[in-house]
């Protein structure tokens, strides 16, 4: 377990729902609902946080939701309990997934791979527990190739990574580096906020 990252996100709990719970989630709601509407089968959700995304999950699904921060999971518990389906919360680090190979049909993430310390390794760990041909659906924010936005995100990242996410990652490239195929990238806002879909080969 990466205790440094755990401590960082435990520390972020206090203001997390205030910063992220209203404006960002309302703005992103249509896209998240559409992404998560594809949930089908045995699902792994990485980095459930305080459970803000649960409101967008279609009912009746079988979901295992993990997070590195036990304090985030405490906040997520009431939302998980209200979910109309099977939703299990687990305190787990993506780099230490203890599921057998090919356990899950699908993996979903939401603003996660801006923060996973070793993103390509984390994605490879997800690929391991996905069944061959299984899909990953990701709602993420990344850097930008447009000036001056890319520069702004690069300049802000050294500050933001101390308290939260990195703002300039190239997550689609990381997904490819991890061995996923059939990559598609749908823009949500500029080339910064996006939906990434890919498949584990097989």
């Amino acid at each position: 377990m990466d205790l440094e990252t755990q401590r960082k996100w435990d520390g972020a709990v206090a203001g997390y729902d205030l910063m992220n719970g209203f404006g960002p989630e309302r703005r992103w709601a249509p896209w998240k609902r559409r992404l998560f509407s594809a949930m089908d089968g045995n699902i792994l959700f990485l980095a459930i946080g305080t459970g803000q995304d649960i409101q967008f999950f279609p009912p009746g699904q079988h979901i295992t939701a993990i997070d590195i921060s036990p304090r985030m999971l405490e906040q997520a518990r009431p939302r998980a309990d209200r979910y109309d389906g099977a939703l299990e919360l687990r305190h787990l680090d993506v780099h230490d997934l203890d599921y057998p190979d090919a356990t899950f049909d699908q993996v979903f993430t939401s603003c996660t791979f801006c923060s996973v310390p070793r993103p390509v390794d984390g994605l490879r760990r997800l690929a391991r527990v996905l069944k061959p041909g299984g899909t990953i659906g990701m709602f993420e924010h990344t850097g930008s190739r447009f000036f001056p936005f890319g520069l702004m995100l690069d300049l802000m990242t050294p500050l933001t990574r101390r308290f939260g996410p990195e703002l300039n990652r190239d997550t689609p490239a990381n997904v490819q580096r991890a061995g996923f195929v059939n990559l598609s990238v749908e823009p949500v806002y500029l080339d910064v906020v996006k939906i990434i879909r890919a498949r584990r080969p097989g």
């Binding site: 447009f146 806002y189 910064v192």
Partner: protein
Amino acid sequence: MERRLYFLIGDLVSNTGVGAAAALTVALCVNEAWPMPLGMVVGMLAGDVVALPAAVGLSILFGAMELMLPVMLSGMLTGMVVGMRAASGPVSPAAAAALGAALGLAALAATYGLNAYVLAKYRREEARR
């Protein structure tokens, strides 16, 4: 393009407000004694110093990247232009605020335009598949 009235109004108010605030701040700091390039650079930095905490606060209401990036652009652009203007001659607070609000609106429009371009490009590529 954003069509939800709440976010449309939020974007307009945020960008014109931050533009005006950044412009007022820069107009108070920079004067004709400054070389114009220095006024421009300091103005740009001061504009972003004003814009960043505003963006953090406004994002609670209106969204994350969709709010922050145009607002930061508004602050930077406004600071730069008003810094150059203030280094050229006196600028009244009212004139600075009006110019800042207009530049904030321009920055928002440019970001909306760029977003429309990105989405249109994606849709064309999808249609070809």
